[in-house]
Amino acid sequence: MSVIPFPGAAANPDTITEDSWQALGQHTVARIALGRAGASLPTRETLRFALAHAQARDAVHTPLDSTALAATLTQAGHSVLQVQSAAANRAQYLQRPDLGRRLHPDSRAQLLAQQAGGCDVLFVVGDGLSSLATASHAAPLLAATLPYLAEAGLHVGPVVIASQARVALADEAGECLQARLVVMLLGERPGLSSPDSLGVYLTSAPKVGRMDSERNCISNVRPAGLPYPLAAFKLAWLIRAALQQGSGVALKDGSAAEPGWAALLARSQSALLA
């Protein structure tokens, strides 16, 4: 997040007690050494916090622009299907996680009507709790991952865009489209400093009723977290492994031991520093 200058920051130094340990901020992104007005937060900090919370709230409540995302994915050469969960709106989605895990009956019928004949890997892109994460990071992550899958000779199905979706909705989509493995890309619950984290969930032999212990997860995918090239490398490794031995807690992520990981890591770190 960029720092928004606060015009009155230096206007009244007499009324704000600044903290002499501001240098410790190099060790943590926690909000330390904020200073005080009396015993309370200075205006600048109240505003900085309010802005971060506003961005997190917007990430939760702004609807995913499925049409725009579909256009982007179509342009990238994907066949795209758009579906809804059984949750009618955001308020219901937030209070009824069970509804967000199931397809709306119309969407289920729509997927069952596809005569595609199955696939190795199905990608489902869901809004989750941060449409900002999905809109920003789903397409770039897909683009970075597909070359690995093509190299492995895997058949990738159409991309399903799902609204008001929770992780387990992908199980039903994968079952309808006869996928060997489903990968859900989903906006994670936003934190104050990370409104746009994308989560990735892999489930082999998807069907309704799979448990969370039968999945593997990659979290915090975003340029300031786990950047696309690293996330794609990890995801491709997990996809290949899960197709062989099945997903779940027994499958441990061994991607960092592969040749190629160290070079990618070094490249990402130098890109971040630049």
Binding site: L24, A30, S40, V60, L129, L192
Partner: protein, 459 residues
């Protein structure tokens, strides 16, 4: 079977468990569980019926079967019939009236606590408005001690929560220092670790203990890891002050946490045997929260507030130093908005105090709940007036490890200034010695507060 006729409608409630659930103030978790009243009128109808239920019925009709649940067995087997005799003739409605009367004073309430069961506390809370929950809780005094004394009238503690997403020692130390220089940390300095590696947790415990010894800080430390990990670390000789564990109100939910009463007893006894407390030996730190039983599929059809009160039966069996309801952490599918979070915080604090617990509250929310800082200010102020045992202190209210908003060091100072609430006396004396406070208020610091040397401890 309970029933009542209101105008043209007749309401039936099959048993006590159903009656409690239907009488509970509206919240999303009870809707999700399918146990909430179907209408506003049904909710009040249930309260009419509940008001007429004799308190002794809760002893005769456990809401979760005695044979199936060790928490029910604990509640029934440890019930103190002699102290209960003072209110045994009352109904739930009569009990509310008695609690609000002058007959209920700090001494009578403290004496009565072992005679009250969680279900009685939950039941009466459902007939109480927020002001009742505040007024009665304020009359309940619970004093606990380890290296300082907490819960004295007019006092409130703060848990310093210096979390870091990768458990980085310097990141944790920087947040610790910030909190201490803001006068926080008397309840406990407690880290939620990102890892569950015993070696890493040992390192964190050693670091906090070194800082405490170097500056002679009269407080206690804790790494909030699983009780079995703490037990292992005690056996390895790690400097463990307090044993932490999340607890819930049913045996099955606790199984989901990987615990039972026996393992809590073992850890409690191990920590006691270390004799690390100087002014007291309350060695347990428990956390709870409405919705934990339902989220584990272990609520037995009971409402989430009643399940929460049952968790306090687990806590009080071990004479804890601190109990913390993490009220808004679980998310909007259990507590939807600021109104529901505020109500739940007041209920939990009241029930805990009535049952004799040193009840604190993590006044908090997540970004997908319909809540904001104004709601937290409201709950903070209400709990301050209600005599809360302790609150949480996180730098700037933003927990960068757990990804939620709690209360800040500044929030604690606000409440102290507003209500004149003091810190634990031993800790306050130390702050004065370190020139951090004078007469209870923060002093302006020079360029180099002596405590800054703390960073060298972890360098």
């Amino acid at each position: 079977m309970y029933h009542i006729t209101i105008g043209p409608r007749r309401y039936h409630f099959a048993d006590l468990k159903t009656l409690l659930a239907r009488a509970s103030p509206l919240r999303s978790g009870d809707l999700l569980a399918g146990v909430a009243a179907a209408s506003a009128e049904e909710r009040v109808a249930a309260r009419y019926c509940l008001a007429d239920v004799p308190l002794r019925d809760f002893l005769q009709h456990p809401i979760i079967p005695y044979e199936d649940d060790e928490i029910t067995r604990l509640i029934i087997d440890s019930h103190d019939a002699a102290t209960f005799a003072a209110v045994a003739h009352l109904t739930v409605g009569g009990f509310r009236d008695w609690l609000l009367s002058d007959a209920a004073n700090p001494a009578t309430l403290a004496a009565l606590a072992p005679g009250i069961t969680p279900e009685m506390a939950a039941a009466v809370s459902k007939l109480m408005r927020n002001q009742d929950l505040i007024l009665v809780a304020r009359k309940c005094r619970v004093v606990t001690a380890f290296r300082n004394t907490q819960g004295l009238p007019g006092h409130m503690g703060v848990r310093l929560q210096p979390n870091h997403p990768t458990d980085d020692a310097r990141g944790i130390a920087a947040a610790m220092l910030d909190g201490l220089l803001y006068g926080a940390g008397d309840a406990v300095i407690g880290i939620n670790p990102a890892t569950d590696s015993p070696e890493a947790i040992h390192t964190m415990l050693a670091m906090m203990d070194e800082v405490r010894l170097r500056y002679a800080i009269p407080t206690q430390s804790c790494v909030l890891t699983h009780v079995t990990t703490t037990l292992e670390l005690i056996n390895r000789g790690a400097p463990v002050d307090l044993v932490f564990q999340s607890v819930a109100g049913t045996e099955r939910a606790n199984s989901g946490f990987g615990i039972n009463l026996a393992v809590l007893q073992e850890a409690h006894d191990a920590a006691r045997s270390l004799q690390r407390g100087t002014v007291g030996n309350n060695v347990m730190y428990f956390e709870t929260g409405q919705g934990s039983a339902l989220s584990a599929g272990a609520h037995w059809g009971a409402d989430q507030q009643t399940c929460e009160a049952r968790a306090y039966a687990v806590a009080r069996h071990f004479s804890p130093l601190l109990v913390n309801t993490v009220v808004g952490f679980i998310g909007p599918e259990y507590l939807y908005d600021g109104k529901q979070i505020i109500r739940a915080g007041l209920e939990d604090h009241f029930c805990g105090k009535l049952l004799g617990l040193p009840m604190g509250c993590d006044i908090c929310y997540t970004n997908h709940a319909e809540a904001d800082q104004d709601d937290m200010d409201t709950l903070l102020t209400l709990l301050g007036t209600a005599g809360i045992h302790f609150i949480i202190g996180v730098p700037g209210a933003d927990d960068i490890m757990l990804g939620y908003q709690s209360t800040s060091f500044h929030d604690a100072l606000y409440l102290r200034e507003l209500l004149g609430l003091k810190r634990a006396p031993e800790f306050e004396d130390w702050l004065e010695t370190m020139a951090i406070t004078r007469a209870g208020r923060l002093q302006a610091h020079g360029q180099q507060p002596p405590l800054l040397g703390l960073m060298e401890t972890v360098a």
